[in-house]
Amino acid sequence: MTATAERQMELTLPMIPDIEIAAARAAGNLARELGMASESIDEMAHAMIEACINAREHSGSADRRIYVRITGTSLGAGNSRIDIWITDHGKGFNVTEARSRRQQLGTVHKRGWGLQIIEAHMDEVSISTNPDGTTIHMVKLGRSGS
């Protein structure tokens, strides 16, 4: 099986309300070109929305920009892979603290669910964060479908 990065795009987005929709639409269009099933695209879109909202609402970045890089790879046999990197130049955050909310799953806590939603909807998630900014790398694997 040969994996080739067939599609790539980079976006620099202003931190304005609803900008997350633009990012999700861009990734969705790329995934559709690769034939990814619609439910997988929807999951990816919701994860992207939460990642962009986290950057916009919590990063505290001075440049007020979200840097998005998306690559799409056809893996053959109807399989595809989308890699997404969402970067901000903010102050970083405590990943351990954010993940600790997972222990409260099933209870009604009204805010702070972004990371849990991202990890539930994506196949792989990794985060690098420090006082100069944060990059979240997300992977969605998909099979072709309607």
């Binding site: 609803d18 929807d42 009204k110």
Partner: protein
């Protein structure tokens, strides 16, 4: 990147949420949503829901058939609506969710406090609306 026209306007173009209400008897109602449930959309739903509660509605069904995208801020507002309805001795149900929205509701625990139905016909029957 230089600021775009959209940035000057302060908001990207999206399908703003629309809410329609169908009263069912004196104590019931169905809310139909269309569009993105974000903070603004969630507040719109909350305003309509609270108006209905103030008017005596104690059984409320939210039909999300025309909503394809939600975010965690919007869902947090839906949870506040549920809490207020429970405080008033009422109940809330949701129907016609996309699989991804259903999954997101479960992640955030909303499904523990509100009934979720496949379609409106089933919901209306179960909630006696």
């Amino acid at each position: 990147m230089s600021p775009t026209a959209q940035e000057h306007e302060g908001r990207i173009m999206t399908d703003e949420l629309r809410v329609a209400v169908d009263r069912r008897g004196t104590a019931g109602a169905v809310l139909y949503t269309k569009g993105y449930i974000n903070n603004v959309g969630g507040e719109e739903i909350a305003n309509r829901a609270y108006e209905l509660m103030d008017g005596g509605v104690r059984t409320l069904l939210l039909n999300l058939k025309e909503t394809k995208i939600v975010n965690s801020i919007g869902i947090s507002i839906l949870i506040e609506i549920i809490e207020k309805m429970i405080d008033q001795g009422g109940r809330i149900g949701f129907c016609s969710l996309t699989p991804v929205i259903h999954k997101t509701f479960q992640i955030m625990g909303l499904a523990n406090y509100a009934a979720i139905f496949t379609d409106e016909e089933t919901a209306v029957k179960e909630l006696a609306l």
